[in-house]
């Protein structure tokens, strides 16, 4: 049973890693698309500036300027929202660490069970209990070490020293 649980945890860890990789790939593609949009926008804004210089204050040039500003604002919003991947990646990494620790715990249980295939003597039980207690304490420490505490994707605070 301990062996099956260990294998299940390894599979879960691999799945989490795969999710993280897929997210990274998706964001990479989106950022490449944004770069293309941004290049177009820069080109567009240069033309706009030239057109504005030639005919300042016209309705058409004002409308074009507003559209360019709107697109830039939308891209800024998307850049902020896409940072969810970094927070999610850290949380997934943290969950993987916990799964690995659980797997180590299962491995230790297997070792002790193999050494004592019959009923565990009192000393074996005490050793098992002590090992499990130590590993569970490690798990608790890993929980406390998780750096990403964000619950919503609002802009974080800024402090200049």
């Amino acid at each position: 049973m301990a062996h099956a649980m260990g294998a299940q945890m390894r599979r879960a860890g691999s799945e989490l890693l795969r999710v993280d990789e897929l997210l990274a790939h998706a964001i990479e593609q989106l950022m490449a698309a944004f770069n293309g949009v941004n290049d177009e926008l820069s080109h567009y804004q240069r033309e706009l500036a030239q057109a504005g210089a030639a005919a300042p204050g016209t309705d058409a040039s004002e409308r074009l300027r507003q559209v360019a500003e709107h697109v830039a604002r939308e891209i800024d919003g998307a850049v902020m929202a896409l940072q969810f991947r970094d927070v999610v990646g850290q949380k997934l990494g943290h969950v993987r660490c916990e799964l690995e620790a659980l797997e180590r715990l299962m491995q230790r249980v297997r070792e002790i069970s193999a050494a004592q295939p019959q009923l565990l003597p009192e000393t074996g039980r005490a050793q098992l209990a002590s090992t499990m207690k130590r590993l569970l304490q490690e798990l608790e420490q890993m929980k406390a070490a998780s750096p990403a505490q964000q619950e919503l994707m609002h802009a974080g605070e800024i402090e200049l020293f």
Partner: protein, 121 residues
């Protein structure tokens, strides 16, 4: 001449987003994947500002700040930490290490540019 910024983060997507934001505003951006890479690149070419993550493999952000502060070219240069960590204790450690500021992710591109403009004077 455009000011140069060293963007340090082990996450490729965050490096992309920081670079995208800074380049769009006309800055030259050099990217580094961790503290060791950043230290090498900062020594190879002096930059005007370092914007670094904290939790990275090989060398974390605070160690990078301390290492950079030992170099004459970076004794007073602005170094801003951009991290998911928001605890006061970590911020105090950043300040003690010599960081110029602390920004918590996710960053708003507009506010990032405001901070960059401010610290670059």
């Amino acid at each position: 001449m455009a000011k140069s910024i060293l963007a340090v983060d082990d996450s490729a997507s965050i490096r992309n987003m920081v670079s995208f934001t800074l380049k769009s505003a006309g800055y030259d951006v050099v990217e580094a994947v961790d503290g060791v890479d950043a230290l090498n690149k900062a020594q190879a070419k002096t930059v005007n500002l370092v914007l670094t993550d904290h939790n990275m493999p090989h060398m974390d952000g605070l160690t990078l700040v301390r290492s950079l502060r030992e170099l004459p070219a970076y004794r007073t240069a602005p170094i801003v930490i951009l991290t998911t960590e928001s605890g006061q204790e970590m911020k105090s450690r950043g300040k003690a290490a010599g960081a110029t500021g602390w920004m918590v992710k996710p960053f708003d591109p507009k506010r990032l540019l405001e901070v960059v403009k401010r610290v670059l004077g």
